[in-house]
Structures are given as C-alpha cells and as structure tokens.
Amino acid sequence: MADQELETKIKTEEYFVNMGPQHPAAHGVLRLLLTIDGEIIKNVEPDLGYIHRSIEKMCERDSYQQIVHLTDRMDYLSSNINNEAVCLAVEKALEIEVSDRVKVIRTIISELTRIASHCLWWGVMGMDLGALTTYFYAFRDREYINDIFEETCGARLTMNYNAPGGLMFDIHPNFVKRTKDFIKHFKTKIPEYDRLVTGNVIFQKRTKGVGVLTKEDAISYGVTGPVARGSGLSSDVRKLHPYSAYDRVDFKEALLTAGDTFARYEVRIMELWESISIIEQLIDNIPEGEIKATTKAVIKLPKGEYYQRVEAARGELGVYINSTGTKNPYRVKFRSPGFSNLSVLNHITKGSKIADLVATMASFDFVIPDIDR
C-alpha cells in the first residue's frame, strides 16, 4: 500500500532511447526503440532493415546453384547449415538421393558449424553480461573449427561447401584426424566454460528468472531453437523431421522447462555436448561413396511448392520454394529463426530492467543478417 501511494505521488515520465543500430549489445545493426521509465522498460520496438539485402528478391532472378551461395550471408555463423537447407530443398524437389558419404559429411560439418556458432554465442553472452574474458576463451576453441573448414573447403566462415546433389569436393585427408583432435581438446574446455561462467553467483543472479518465456507463449510466437527448448517446447528439427544422417545417430534433444535466460544458456551448453556426441558417432565410419550426384547444368525444379527445414544453430530455418518449372524460382522465402524469435522480445522484456533486456537478447543469440535477410 505504501509503495503504491509513493508511486502515485512521485510523478515519473517515460522517455525514448534508441538502442542501436550502433550499440555494443545489438550484435550488429539491430535498432531497438526503447520506452523507458527510469531503468524499467515499458516497450521494445524493433526497427529492422539496416542490413537488409533482399535476398529473397535476389533469389527470384538467380539459378538454384547461385541461391546456395546467397544463403551463406544470412546467418553467417551457421552458413553451412543454410547451404544445406537449400540443397536439401532442391534435392527433395528433383528427387535426388545423395550418397551416404555426403549425408554423413554434411552432418559432421553442420555439427561443427553448430559448435562454432555456440562458441561464439557463449563468448558474446559473457561479454554482454560484463565478463569480457569469455570472448577470448570461446574464440580460442572456435579457431580450431575454422582451421578445419579452411583446410577442407578454403573458407573459414561462408563456406559454400554444399551444392545441390552433394558436396563441392571431398574432405581433406587431414579432416578426420583434426576433427578428432578438436573433439578431444574441446571436451576438456566445456567444463572450463562451466567453471568460469555457469557456476558464477553473479551470472546466475543475472540470468535465473530473467526474461521468462512460457511454453504457451513460445508456441504462439512461433519460437524455435534453443529459445523454444529452454521453455520446454520440443522443436528440434533433427529429431522431428530428420534429414541427412540424423536418423542414424543417437542423441538427446536438450530440453529444459524453466524458460528463463539461464535455461536457454544451459540448453546451448547441453547442445555442445550433443553435437560432440553426434560427431563422435559418425567420424570413425564415414562411408565411401560418390561425393556428388550428377545434376544437370541448369537445374529446373518441377512445378510446385517445396518446404525444407533444418535445425540451424539458432533454430528452425525453413526454405520455401515456389517453382513454376523454370530455371529460376518463382518465390523463395527463408523462414529465419531470428525473425520469429525477435518477435517475442517485447513480450518477455516488458517491465524488466535495461540490463535484463541485454541479458535476454544475449540468450536469444541474434544474428542480424539472419533477421533482415
């Protein structure tokens, strides 16, 4: 009662703050229009488009082989998974069955990409919460993966390793050995991550009970990926709609029910372990086989609509292709995980502090080109 009385007597005034497009916590060029009362957030209104390249429009004029290369630039941290999504969609439309070797290699590389992406997220999450050292620890480990990629396909980030029908070329002879070395190294490093951050009292205080997303809201807002799984919504495409070699490996879907920032954090750490386990199951017996199924030089998809989803590092990436039977798609839509996840931000950060907004955003792991496309 006394508090209420006080609140009515003291007149406060709301004000606007432009968070971004140049802001350290925006992870790029996200602009949030905040309505704040003191430190308390009243409304968050995202304003996008600072890195919009209209990839969907560009796809309408490009051939299917070219589209693959555009997807790299969406969620650049899971570039290989994006490539894979388009390739799978095209293969589904053409009814091409790729060889087991391709499937296994795609799975391994995708999981390595996921580890690299989660490593970067872990570093940035710590940094957003004020622990700067995490960034360098994470980059140390991520470097191993980038080196493996560089050796195999020449690129470290935007890899373009997949092509409709298979892979661009075979893996490097060192690939298996280096991947095993990395797994061995990384297994000792995740406990180090836990020691540095997970157990820290301040970190737990900052994340537990912050930005709580209930399961109902997660469903209604179409949230996917670790964000959904932190709220207890089973949404792992690798389990629900297995693609590539995921149906032949044994792994658990990381699922927690708390729905707060800490749960999302834990889910990602659990996913690191799962990814390691998937790679370990596959790396020792990569089957022999064709690296690329023969496709025509000009790919024409049969008339129809195709929807292919994959589990990118941030959630479900859907590729919707509407083809009229020509060499260019009629319409391509990328259902990016970040865009749907961003829509829930206002709902769960209303009434919390600025610092909570930053922590919540960090746990959502936004990549702005993925949202803008």
């Binding site: 004000y15 703050v17 802001h23 350290p24 916590a25 430190e39 710590g126 940094m127 957003d128 919460l129 004020g130 622990a131 700067l132 050292t133 960034y135 360098f136 620890y137 140390r140 540095l196 951050v197 820290n200 301040i202 970190f203 205080k205 900052r206 502090k353 600025i354 610092a355 909570d356 930053v358």
Partner: protein, 359 residues
C-alpha cells in the same frame, strides 16, 4: 594567507626545503615549495595513471590468452604514453545543445578530487605531502566529490545513455560510501587515530592491523574490497559505464583529453582504494616482519608500491572474471548484506577491543 601556508606540514625532503628557504624570503620559499610539490604530484599522478592502464592491459591479456601491448618500447612500456599523446592531440568534439559550462567542468571535478586524494598518503616515512590528523576522514570526504563530476558530466552531455550512467553512479556511490566508511571505522576503533602516519606507527609495534584485528579485521577488509571496487566503478560494479547496456555510460560524449581525464581518474581512484587498504590493513610502507628495518638505505616506498600493486592486481582479477551486477542487485548487496554485516562487525570489533582479545 601567510598563516595558512606556513601551517601546512611539508616534510618531503628537508634538504631541498632548507636550501630553498636559505635563498629566498620565507613566503616566496613556501610558495615555491608548494608549486614544486604540486608538480611532483602531478607527474606522479600521470605516471601512476598511465602505468596502471598498461598494467591493466597486460593483466587483461594474461587472463585472456593474449600478449597485450608489446610494440611500443620493450614489453610495450611506452604504449600508454603514446596513447596519451594521441588523446592530447585529438580534437575535442562535443554534442549539440550541451550545457557547455558544466560539460567542461565535469572532468576537472573528477581529476581534482583524485589528486587531492593521493596527496595525503604516506608513501614512506618521509614521502608525504600532507599529514593531517583527520587523514582517513578527509579521504572519504574528498573521494566522494568525484561522483559530482560524473553526475554533472552525464547530465550536461545531452545524451540519455550518459544520463542513465550518471544516475546509476549517483546511487552506487551514495550506497557504497557507507560500507567503505563503516569498514574503515571498524579499523579506526583498533588504531584510535585517523591520522595516516599514526595508523602506520600503530602497526610497527603490534603487527599489521589485519593480523591485530584478526576475524573482524578480515571481514572488514573483504567488505572494504567489495565496496572499494564499487566506489571506483569497476567491474563487477561498472554499471556506470556498462558498455553492453549504455555504450560508454557517463563519458559517452567526451573525447580526447577530457575523456582521458575520466579514464585516468578511474585508475587513480583504484590506486587510492588500494592505498587505503594497504595503509589501514597491511602496514603501509612497513616491511613484512621487519625484514628491511635494519637497512637504512632501503627505499620503504618500494614496500608500499609492491603491496598496492598486489591489491590492484586483485581488483583487476575481479574485473576480468566476473560478470556485471544489475542495478537492483547492486543495491540489494549493499543495503541487505554489506551494511548489516558491517554494523555487526563494528560491534564485534568493539567487543574484541573491550575484552582485549586483539593479537
């Protein structure tokens, strides 16, 4: 005027003192000496500031699997000097529609308060500019002036991020000043004096205060370190400039040398907090177990600096490992935990002294 000048005890080096008095009239001599001391302290200020920045960068690098600055001079020892030159030569830009007078005044508030702060420390038995009998009390009083500079700077910048940062700084300093004060008051019970040189003299016979006061002294030291870190606005209490939330906080709109003033002041503040800790808990310039007491030529200031650097490294360790607190958690920590513990500790210390349980 003359009366005032003559009463300031100046005991840095008596030879120079006598020499200057021998060649000029008394008033001129004391003014000359004051200017000399001011110059020495300004130089000290710059050197401490710049090399603490370098130390921070090196320590950060060691924590973060990096090398740190290593290009300018051997081990990069001239790096921060080069940085300072860069900052001096930079254009001072400012925002539109700022409060010009306050905007320009703010850095001086911060820098002057820290400068006054370092003037009272006994770096060694002879090396002390200003030995007043309310030394510790004077330090609290002066060190909290700095926050006015931050508040003014944040307010005058015409930037909402700066304003939020400044407001956070206000509530942070008001809260944590209490803990700093009370934890030192606990130790004052033990020493019975506020004069810094006297506090050190007490420790010459009875051992360092952290040993003399054992349990309550250790609690007081821990609280002092937490509150002291908060006082200097360093991580995990760096909400004032919380870069992931506020960009750069209160100094968002400052550039060039004005920014450098804020930046250096932060490091000098850290030096001040570490120095208070060393004087009050670790015997100031006294050597551990008196190992260099017999050696007359040994510079006692070295012991002081070694201890200070160790405490500073401890504070840097905090910074590079802990995440940042949220603003309400910051206040909860102070008002719900530190303050009650501190008050209980004060009573505990009083009981210990009353029962004569000190070592």
């Amino acid at each position: 005027m003359n009366f005032l000048i003559m009463n300031i005890p100046l005991n840095i080096t008596s030879t120079i003192h006598d020499w200057i008095y021998s060649i000029m009239p008394e008033t001129a001599a004391s003014i000359t000496i004051m200017v000399l001391i001011a110059v020495i302290y300004l130089a000290l200020f710059a050197i401490i500031g710049l090399y603490l920045v370098l130390l921070e960068r090196k320590v950060a690098a060691w924590f973060q699997l990096r090398l740190g600055p290593n290009r300018v001079g051997p081990w990069g020892i001239f790096q921060t000097i080069a940085d300072a030159l860069k900052l001096v030569s930079k254009e001072l830009t400012s925002n539109d529609r700022i409060d010009k007078f306050l905007y320009n005044l703010a850095p001086y508030f911060v820098i002057v308060s820290t400068l006054i702060g370092i003037s009272v420390f006994p770096f060694s038995k002879q090396f002390q500019a200003f030995d007043i009998n309310i030394g510790l009390f004077f330090l609290f009083a002066v060190s909290s002036i700095g926050v006015i500079g931050i508040l003014v700077g944040g307010w005058a910048s015409n930037n909402k991020f700066a304003l939020i940062g400044a407001m956070r700084s206000g509530l942070q300093t008001i809260s944590y000043e209490l803990s700093v004060g009370l934890s030192l008051l606990t130790m004052v019970l033990l020493t019975g004096t506020l004069q810094l040189s006297e506090i050190i003299e007490v420790q010459r016979t009875g051992g360092w205060l952290i040993l003399q006061g054992h349990i309550p002294a250790i609690i007081a030291f821990m609280i002092f370190m937490i509150a002291g870190t908060a006082e200097t606005n360093r991580a995990p209490f760096d909400l004032v400039e919380a870069e992931s939330e506020l960009g750069a906080g209160f100094h968002t709109e400052y550039s060039g040398m004005k920014f450098a003033y804020f930046f250096l002041a932060e490091f000098i503040n850290m030096f001040i907090i570490a120095s208070i800790a060393v004087v009050v808990f670790f015997g100031g310039w006294l050597s551990p177990f008196g190992i260099t007491d017999g050696i007359t030529w040994f510079p006692e200031v070295l012991w002081f600096l070694i201890k200070v650097v160790m405490i500073i490294i401890l504070m840097m360790w905090f910074r590079w490992t802990f995440p940042r607190l949220r603003v309400d958690q910051l206040l909860t920590l102070e008002w719900k935990y530190l303050l009650p513990i501190n008050l209980a500790n004060l009573m505990f210390m009083a009981v210990i002294i009353w029962m004569n349980w000190t070592i």
